[in-house]
Each structure stands twice: as C-alpha cells, then as structure tokens.
C-alpha cells in the first residue's frame, strides 16, 4: 500500500472525526439493536429482558407454523398493494397539476401536505369516527350501513384508504422536486412537434421522472410493510375484523410488549425483515430495467 502523505493523513483524520458522531449513532441506535434482535429471536426471553436462555430455532419453528403469522403477512402485503400504487399515482397526477404556474398552487400544496404534519394518532381517531358504522359521518351522508372497519371483507381497504390519504402529500412534494429537474427544452421541442399534453406526460415526464418514482416506490414499500399505527389506533382489539387486518408489526407489538414475550416478537420481526430483503432485492433488479437515468 502506498504511504500517505502528511496532508492525506490530516485529511483522513478529519474525515473520521466528522463521520464519528454519525457512526456512533448508527452503531448504538441501529446496529446494536439489529444484532440484539437476532440474538433475542434465538432465545426464550425472561421477564424484562433478563435471564434469556438460548433455544436455537424453536421460536422460528413456532412462528412459521402459526397461521396467524402468514395471515398477518398477507394482511401487510394487501395494505402495501393499496397504499403504494394509489399513493404514487394520485400523488404524481397532483404533482403534475400543481407544478404548473397557476393561481393558488401553494395553497393546494399546503392542503395536500397537511395530513403529513398531523399527528398519526389524531388522524386515525378522526377516521375512526368517520368510519363508525352506526354514527359515522360517511354512513350518515350516504344513508348506508357499511361496516367500514368491522366488516372483514372491506376493513383492509378502509385502512388502506387512510394510508393513501396520509402519504399523498409527502409523495407529491418529492414528485414536484423531481418534475422541476426535468429540463424545459424537452417540453418545448414536443410542443413544436405537436405532441399533446397527455403524450408529453407519458413520453417525457414518466421516463424522466422514473428515478424519483423508483425512490418513492422503494421507500414507501418498506414503509407500508412495517405499518403499525393505523391498525393499532383505528381498530379496537375486540374488532371482529382485526385478524384480517393486523400487520406483522402489530402482531409483534402484541407479543413483545403486551404479552412480554420478546423472543417471539423478535422472531416475527426477523421474518418480516427477510421478506423485506427479498422485496428490496427484486426491486433493485427491476431498477436496471425500468429506471431511466440520463
């Protein structure tokens, strides 16, 4: 290896000095908990994290045998299948409109972004009352008796709608910043060639926006697969539809915190982690085919 000059050494020392706080934070707050979770998933954990005994893969055998694990994983996927596509498409359309120089765009941007700055618990509570079967605003406006959040067949859709509503603003802001990076020349050239707005959208905007879209889909997919607060806040634990809606993280919370069975909870999270890793791997492969970087 080549010997470093004094200046290079100096630079290296400073570089390390600057990244040390971040590294420390990562190690303490991320890396250590990850390895601790892996370890706990191999243990029968004692009360309050004391007296763990190593049991090998016993927790995994139980978790993978339980029907509720697979049901909750399927529930989580169903939630992601609503939140991600709709959250992305609606946000993209809104972003295209709000990227134009029209009167009042900033007001609309604010309105669409508002759900992001509301406390999730407050959002969930208001939706809970909107959805209430007997006294809710929705059913009373439309004079129907739909059990929005207690009919097992549709409760997952109702929860997904809240998810979409909450995330649109965030996705939209990212899309707007992506749109502003597309050089205006393309659109001028397309105008001269006589392309309609719709064709411009499909042949210029979508391909050139694909890096942003990919980023949003990737992060939102992970976000949706780790959803917890919506189910927790909107659905009472005696709700008959809960089993058809509860996510993996909800199940984790139930076991790890309510029942105090950390080892079993850690195992559930590890299963979810593996699933997310697989999804991310597929996404990375797809990136090469679908995303257009200029």
């Amino acid at each position: 290896m080549k010997k470093m000059t004094a200046a290079e050494k100096n630079a290296a020392i400073w570089a390390w000095a600057f990244i040390t706080p971040t590294m420390l934070g990562l190690i303490v707050l991320n890396f250590y908990p990850i390895f601790d979770t892996v370890w706990q998933s191999l243990c029968k954990t004692g009360d309050f994290g004391r007296g763990n005994t190593f049991v090998g893969l016993a927790n995994y055998a139980t978790v993978l045998k339980q029907a509720e694990t697979w049901q909750s994983l399927w529930n989580t996927i169903k939630y992601a299948l609503i939140e991600v596509p709709f959250g992305v498409v609606i946000a993209l359309v809104l972003a295209v409109f709000l990227n134009k120089k029209l009167a009042g765009t900033s007001i609309y941007r604010t309105i669409f972004f508002l759900p992001m700055v509301c406390a999730p618990a407050a959002v969930a509570m208001v939706w809970r009352w909107l959805y209430n079967q007997q006294f809710g605003l929705l059913n009373n406006i439309f004079h129907v008796k739909v059990g929005w959040i207690n009919d097992p067949k549709i409760a997952w859709i109702s929860i997904g709608i809240i998810g979409v509503w909450s995330i649109i603003g965030y996705n939209m802001v990212l899309f707007i910043s992506g749109l502003q990076e597309i050089p205006h020349d393309y659109y001028e050239a397309a105008d001269i060639d006589g392309a309609t707005g719709i064709r411009q959208f499909f042949y210029i905007t979508i391909p050139l926006l694909s890096p942003t879209t990919f980023f949003i889909v990737q992060t939102r997919l992970i976000g949706a697969l780790t959803v917890f607060d919506l189910m927790f806040m909107v659905m009472d634990k005696t709700n008959q539809a809960l089993k058809q809606v509860q996510s993996v993280v909800y199940l984790f919370y139930q076991y790890a915190f309510t029942n105090g069975n950390r080892g079993y909870g850690a195992t559930l999270v590890m299963v979810l982690l593996v699933f997310i890793l697989v999804v991310t791997f597929i996404m990375q492969k797809a990136e090469k085919k679908l995303v257009f970087y200029n």
Binding site: D47, A119, A121, R128, F135, N140, T238, Q240, T258
Partner: protein
Amino acid sequence: MNTRKFLALVMSLIMAASLVACGGGGGGTSGGGESADNNAGGGGGSSAGLQVAIWDNNQLAGLKEIADAWSAESGVPVTINVITWDSYWTLLSSGASGGTMPDVFWMHSNTAQMYMENDLLLNLDEYIANDDSISLDNYYPGIVSLYSSNGSQYALPKDHDTIALLYNQALFDKYGVEAPTDDWSWDNVYEAAKAITEAGSADNVYGFAMNTSNNQDGWYNFVYDYGAQVITDDHKGTTIGSDEGKAGMEMLRKILTVSAPQPVVAETGTDSLFMSNLCAMITQGSWMINAFYTADGHDNYKWALLPYGDANGNGMCDPGERQSSYNGLGWAASAATSNPDAAYSLISYFCNEAGQVKQAELGVTMAAIPGISDAFSEAFPGMDVSAFNRIEEEGMLFFRPYTRNTTVWEDKIQQDAFLAAWLNPADEATMAMACDNAQAIIDAAIAAE
C-alpha cells in the same frame, strides 16, 4: 336524520380535541423521564423531587391534592404523570429493562407478581416495621397478599373497587320501563333490556351493552354468580368451562341477544353509547364514577346494586349469587429510586388511615381499609353511589382473577374465545363452545408461565 349527522360531526371533533390533550400529557411524561435521570446524577436530596406515574386521569386531581399536602410537610416536590393504561405498561416494562422507572407508581394484579419476582420494586418490609401509621392487618387481605412475594411486602394497598349497575333514568321513563332496584336479578336485566331495545329500535337506543373486554366490570361477575371461577383460588387453573361457568355465560348470552350488537360496542364503546343516551344500562366499576359524574347528562345517571344471578332459580338472592369482583391497586416504589425514604414516606402518606379517608372524601376511590369508605358515598353530591359500598353487605366480593402473566390469556379469551359468541348471541352452542375454548386458552397460558 340531521341530528345524527350533527352528532357524528361533534363526536369526531371531540375525539380530535381530546387527542390534542393526550398529546400534551405524553410530552409531560417524557419530560418526567429526563428529570428522573437528573435525580440519579445528583444523588438525591430533599429538593430532587419524586416522579409519580398513574394511569387514571379521573384520580389525578384528588391524588394531587394529597401529594401536595405531603410535599408541604416533607419539602419534596411531587410530579404526577398520567399515562394511558396500555402505554403505562409499555413504559413501565421498558423502564424496568432500561433502569429508568418512575420513583413511585401504581401496581396492578395483572403483572405485580412478575415485577416483584424480578426485584424491580422496593422491598417495604423494614419501612413498614418502623412506621406506626401502617399495619397490614387493617387492609383487605386479598390486596395485601397480592403485593407480597416470598414473605416480603412490595406495595401498600391503595384502594379497592367494586362493580355496580349504571342506568339512565330518562331512558327508562321514556320507554315506560321500571327502573332497576336492589332486588334485581340478571333475569330482570334481560326483561328490561328487551323492552327498551325493542321500543327504542327506531332511535337506535339499546337496553344494555357489554363488550368482551368488559371482564372485571362485566362478565366475570356472571361466572362467579353461578358458582364457577375464572381463575381458581390457587391461581393455577380455571373452572370457566364447567357447567356452572357455562350457566353464567348462558345467562349473559340471553341478555346479549337484546343488547347492542358487538360491532357497535367495539366501534363506539359502551361508555360512549351510554353517555350519548343510546344505551340504558351498563355495568361499571367504582373507578369510573367520576367520568359519569362529570358527564353532561349526569342528572339522569343512577347506580343500582349489581344484580344477582339466580343460579338455583328460586327467585331470591341466596348467598353467593350476588358477586362483585374487587381489585386493589398498590402504591409501589422503584427498587432503583434515588430517594427511597421519600418514596416510602409518600406511599405511607397515601395509604395510612388518614390518607385513605381523605382519598375517599375527595371521591378518588374507595379505601383499601374496610369500613372507612362511607365518606366516598358522600363525595358526589347529587349522585347516589352507595351501591358500591352496599354490595359488601348484600353480596360477596371475589378478587379480580389474575395469574403470573394475566394479559396473555386475558386478551386471548376476549379475542379468540368469546368474540364469536358475542357476534352470534342467538346461538347457545357458540357460547358453550366459547367457554370450552376459554378453558383451554387459560390452561395453556398457565402451563406456559
């Protein structure tokens, strides 16, 4: 129709507003954790202050008054943080793992055993021996033994609670049904609920409401009225699947056929239904009195003696047929508190006879010492709450069922056993099967403890 729309809107707004209030409480909590850390660093001392955690907002005002009186004597400031029931246990168990528990806090039968066995609570034996104002013989024995482990006392009894029947006089008058009396059995409740639910169907009014989660304040009492036990006296089993247990739940099943349907109860909540004048009767515990006393329609709210289960069918209340569960919280201190003397001094102040009488007078809860809760009946001018005291003379009390890790089976029988029966109350077999399932769930959970 318009009034219903308006009601829906108002409910949404109220929920939003109350959440803002809750958020403020949460902020206070995290601040509390920080100052507790400071105490540890400063090595204690009289100015350090005590962090107290409780879960019931209804009791905050009264307890604060007592704590302030103690602060005036001792010079140690006290901060009481209210954390909702679910978060309370998450916070406490995380604090137990991480070593940052509040100084003084409530213990509950669900988890006390686990906290005591892991030496997380301050051993109070020596303090009690040196304290003239405390004698363990004075308290309800069930509560004292709940908070002792291996012969040592880890918490002092804070209170006791009982259950009564709450009804809305205005709804009984409106539908021409006679109001509950002390002689009512659950069969009378069935008749009245049936009459009101049928007459009120056009207005969405129900005669009765109970969810699977209303256990201590609800269906547990049915099981004991008919001679079964949710958890046996040795805390090692259950007889809920016995014929007696099934008979009790069968009585309840009959009432459920004329009550608010489970989906309504799960979404809206029994208390909200009652306070919205949409339900004529619920069962509730004495710890909830203040919530109903301060509600808008409280003039119409009346408490009756908890009805009895006519197990032998002779039309009168025989011994053992009227049972109310009782539970007692305990005041405990963290084993790691930086100021154990002050912590015990505060606990003793709350739990000695003077503190218990004051607690009853202020209407916080009934005392953990038998016979001194009369003042509690007078604490709510305009509302007769003597039903909670009278049940001790006219019925029997059984201690809230608990095992080492109660939450595991308690949640599971609500969701996996009885939910099906609640959803389909018309079918007798479903309820009987639910009792069998509950028996299996509890046996399995105890075996795993």
